[in-house]
């Protein structure tokens, strides 16, 4: 079974305000505010390049950041969190 691909809303659908180590994120389509911690903003930013499955998303993040060894296990959990919050959806 193919790995699910995820997509995020365009950048102009989100207002992000950096707080002290966290960010307040306002999602215009749903009118909902979220408090997000890294790596959520970074994942949403990486998805601006287009839909991606977990492996592709990790590759994009590795271009920008150094990731820990077990990042491939954690990325799926982070994507599910974002999906449950309505910030990403399956493409």
């Amino acid at each position: 079974m193919a790995a699910p691909r995820y997509v995020a809303d365009p950048g102009d659908a989100i207002r992000l305000v950096a707080l002290d180590g966290l960010s307040a994120l306002y999602h215009l389509p749903s009118g909902t505010t979220h408090i997000v911690a890294p790596p959520a903003p970074e994942i949403l930013e990486a998805l601006q390049e287009g839909p991606a499955d977990a492996a592709e998303l990790l590759a994009r993040l590795r271009e920008r950041y150094e990731l820990e060894e077990r990042a491939d296990e954690a990325i799926g959990i982070r994507l599910i969190e974002l999906e449950q919050a309505g910030l990403v959806r399956r493409a």
């Binding site: 890294p38 920008r64 982070r78 910030l87």
Partner: protein, 132 residues
């Protein structure tokens, strides 16, 4: 060459060596803030509506809800204290909350329905109309 390290805009861009921990957080990285309206559900019950408001202090309330001069025939006297949100809700549902003269209830309910933005008690009344 000045010999100094280059310090410019690039200094504020994320370094490619920045470490991003995807799995370090044991707790969720996303916490959704409940809409403010949902959190005000409790306060709706205790917000206040003066009948009548300061703009018509001392006036009686006609059966259609309009403030009229004291003693006007058919009008009811003003309430001695503001209605709480829950009492207003009871009135708007056609019942009479404790402490309110049943014969005056309809006039008070109509007064509340006539409240407009900017009038004392309007925000409370508007909150009562919001679905919960």
């Amino acid at each position: 060459m000045s010999g100094r390290d280059k310090i410019g805009d690039d200094a504020f861009k994320p370094s490619r060596r920045t470490v991003l921990y995807l799995g370090a957080a044991a707790a969720s990285t996303v916490v959704t803030v409940r809409p403010a309206l949902a959190q005000t559900a409790g306060s709706v019950l205790t917000c206040e509506i003066p009948v009548p408001g300061p703009h018509a202090a001392g006036s009686y309330i006609a059966q259609d809800g309009t403030p009229v001069p004291a003693g006007t025939a058919g009008a009811v006297p003003p309430l001695a204290r503001p209605l709480r949100g829950e009492e207003a809700r009871i009135l708007l549902n056609g019942s009479t909350p404790p402490g309110v003269n049943p014969g005056s209830a309809q006039a008070y309910a109509n007064y509340i329905r006539r409240l407009q933005s900017g009038m004392s008690g309007f925000t409370c009344y508007a909150s009562l109309q919001m679905p919960r």
